[in-house]
Symmetry: C2
Subunit: 367 residues, 2 copies
C-alpha cells in the first residue's frame, strides 16, 4: 500500500460550487477554470464535475488537447494563449480559444499564415486581454486599438471578447488600485473598440464580492474548489470543500515538560504531552510555513500542529484526545476543516495548498 495519505475529491461538492458560481454570475456565462491540474483536484475528476460548465479555461496547452480528446465539445480557452508557434496547429485543430495579450503573439499569428477557414466557425477565437492595472498580461487601453486592428486584419482570427483581471477584487477600495479604477480603464478600452465586443472581467473574488461588476463571461476558479478568495469564510458563500486531505497517525510520543519536538527544537512542551506523528509533510504539499497552532483534526477532534513541518511528517498535540492511537484518522484540510484556516496559519492562501498536492498523494474520487 502507498503511504496512508490521500486526497479525496468530492465531485458533488465541485458540482454544487459550480451551481453557486452560476447563481452569483446572474446571466453571465461561466468558464470553469481547471488550470494547475484543476487546482490540484485532477483534470479527470474536474471534467466530470464541471460537465455543465459553459466553458473550460486553463493555461496548459497539453491539458487543453487532453480535454478535447476526452470529448469536451463546448468552449475551451487558454487563459495565457499560446506560447510558441508550434502551439498554433494544435489550437486550430482542436478549436481551442486563446487569449492574446501581447504583440509578440500577434507576430506569431501573422507569421503562421494560417489557412483561411472554410467556415466562419473554424476561425481561431481570440480573447483580447486588456491590462487595466494588474501589469501582468495584456494591452494598456492606449495600445488596444492597434492590437485589435492587427488581429481583425487576419481572416483566420475572430475576436470574441475583451478580457481583464483584477488585482484587488478582495480589497475593493485598495488605495493603490481600487476595483473601480480597473473597471474605468477597461471601459475605456472597450469604448475605443466601439463597445461591441463581449466582456470578461470577473474572477471568483469579483464574482462573489463585487456584485456591481457586469460582464458576459465570468472566470470561476478557487470558488469551484471550495476555497475562499477573501478573508470571508468559503461557507459564508455556500461553498463546500472540493478536496479532503487525510492521513493517519503513524506513531505516538510521550513528552515530559521541557522536551522539544522536531527540527530546530521549535516547540517545547509546557507540560506532559502526548504527540501524534502524522504521515504528511511538506513533500506531500503541506505548507512548511505552518506555525505551531495550525489546526488539524484527529479522530474528528480539532487540535493543533506543534513543531516544524518535516518532509514526510508533522507532529500534532493529542494530549486531550484519549482515543488517539497509531492508525487514527487525521484530517489536514477539507470536510470539517476549511483549507483557508490552514492557509491562514501558514501565511498563505488556500489556492497554494490545493495546487501543491504532490504526486505521491493518492487521489480518491468520491462519487
Amino acid at each position: 500500500m502507498p503511504r496512508p495519505i490521500t486526497a479525496t475529491i468530492h465531485l458533488s461538492a465541485l458540482k454544487h460550487n459550480y451551481a453557486i458560481a452560476k447563481k452569483f454570475s446572474g446571466s453571465a456565462k461561466v468558464w470553469a477554470v481547471v488550470k494547475a491540474n484543476a487546482y490540484g483536484h485532477g483534470l479527470a475528476p474536474a471534467l466530470r464535475a464541471f460537465a455543465d460548465a459553459d466553458g473550460l479555461a486553463l493555461v496548459e496547452v497539453d491539458g487543453a488537447v487532453k480535454i478535447r480528446e476526452s470529448g469536451w465539445q463546448k468552449p475551451l480557452m487558454l487563459l495565457e494563449g499560446f506560447f510558441h508557434a508550434s502551439d498554433l496547429a494544435l489550437v486550430q485543430q482542436h478549436r481551442i480559444d486563446v487569449a492574446v495579450h501581447c504583440h509578440e503573439q500577434i507576430d506569431l499569428l501573422e507569421q503562421a499564415h494560417l489557412t483561411p477557414p472554410v467556415e466562419a466557425g473554424h476561425r481561431i477565437n481570440v480573447h483580447l486581454k486588456v491590462n487595466s492595472g494588474m501589469n501582468r498580461l495584456g494591452f494598456k487601453p492606449a495600445e488596444i486599438t492597434r492590437a485589435y486592428q492587427r488581429l481583425v486584419a487576419m481572416q483566420s482570427i475572430h475576436v470574441v471578447d475583451l478580457m481583464m483581471h483584477f488585482a484587488n477584487a478582495d480589497d475593493e477600495f485598495n488605495p493603490v488600485l481600487p476595483v473601480a479604477e480597473q473597471i474605468r480603464r477597461f471601459n475605456e478600452a472597450h469604448r475605443l473598440l466601439g463597445n461591441t465586443l463581449e466582456t470578461s472581467l470577473a474572477n471568483s473574488a469579483a464574482t462573489l464580492l463585487n456584485r456591481a461588476v457586469k460582464n458576459d463571461w465570468v472566470r470561476a476558479g478557487i470558488m469551484l474548489y471550495g476555497g475562499s478568495p477573501s478573508r470571508a469564510a468559503a461557507a459564508d458563500f455556500g461553498l463546500l470543500p472540493g478536496m479532503t486531505l487525510a492521513s493517519e497517525l503513524i506513531a505516538i510520543q510521550s513528552l515530559e515538560a521541557g522536551e522539544s519536538i522536531g527540527y530546530g527544537s521549535r516547540f517545547i512542551a509546557t507540560r506532559a504531552m502526548r504527540i501524534g506523528v502524522v504521515a504528511c509533510g511538506y513533500a506531500d504539499g503541506y505548507p512548511r510555513h505552518a506555525m505551531d497552532g495550525t489546526p488539524v483534526l484527529v479522530n474528528g477532534v480539532r487540535t493543533r500542529m506543534v513543531g516544524r513541518v518535516s518532509m514526510d511528517m508533522i507532529t500534532v498535540d493529542v494530549t486531550d484526545i484519549a482515543d488517539a492511537k497509531v492508525g487514527s484518522a487525521v484530517t489536514l484540510w477539507g470536510r470539517g476543516l476549511p483549507v483557508d484556516d490552514v492557509a491562514q496559519a501558514s501565511d498563505t492562501i488556500g489556492y497554494e495548498l490545493m495546487c501543491a498536492i504532490a504526486q505521491r498523494v493518492q487521489i480518491i474520487v468520491d462519487e
Copy 2:
C-alpha cells in the same frame, strides 16, 4: 508544446554529489535517500545517478517496489518502515529493509506469523529506531531493550542496526537539544543492547558539519541534490546543483513610477521600469512566500522578482537587461543561482522548493 517551464536534472552533478557524500563519510557506507520522488528529481534519473550507492532509502512502499523491479540488487530501506500489515508481503518478497520505530509495528510483525526463512539472508532486515530527542519516530533508550527483545524473538527478523535522527545537526550547540546530548542518549541505547549493533546516525547536515559523529551508515539526502543543509553555501562543500528550474519571459510590461504590479499591488514602481512576466508560478512549485528581491536570472543576468507570486506567473525587474524580450531564458534556480538563495528569500529551505516541483513542469534529463 507544454508551457515553457522545465526542470533539468543534471545526472553528472548527482553522481558528483554522491562522491562528495562518500568522501565526507569516511569508511561509513552511504544510503542515498530518494524519498519524495528523489527530492523532486524523479526516481528514474536518481536510480541512474546513484547506481554506485551502497544502498537506497525512501519512505514510499510503492516506490521501493518500483526500485526492486527496476533491477536494484543492493540494500533498499524504508526509513519509516511499513505502515500496514498488507505491506509486509511486499517487504518480504522484495527484500526491503524496514525501520521499526514503534511497538505497533512490532505487533503487526508478530501478528503476521511470517514464514520462517529458509536461509538467514531472507529474514526481514530491521533498522531499530532510537528516539534520542527528536521526539518524532523511535524508542527512547528506556524502551529499547523491550523492543529489541520482541524483535529478536522472531525467527523471521534480523536486527541490523540502531538508527537515530538529529534535530539540530545544523546547529550543533542548540541550547535546547545539542548534538552531543542526542549522541549521548543514542550511545546509552546502544550500550543497553550490548554495543554490538551497527549504527546509523548522520543525515547530510551531520555528515558535512559534525565530523566527530561516527557511524557505520550515513543517510545522505539534500546534499546529493546539491542543496545545503545549513546556512553555509552548498558550493562550500563542493556540491553541484542537481536541478535547474528554467522558464521564459512570456510578456514585457512598461511601468511608470507609481504603478503597481500583481495581486494586492504589493510592489510599486519607484521609477520607470520594464517588467518581465515569467511562465512560472506557485502551481509550478515556486514559493508563494518569495519576497520582492528574490533573485532570478534573465538571459543569465541576476535580477529580482517583484510583486506577489501568482499561480502561473511571476514578475521580474528587467529594466536594466536591455536584451530581455518575450522568449528570453529565465533561471529560477539551479546552475548559476543556488536554490538556497531562493529559499532564503522565501523564508524556507531548498528541500521544500525541490520537492514542490509540480507534475506540470516538464522534466529534462541532462545526460
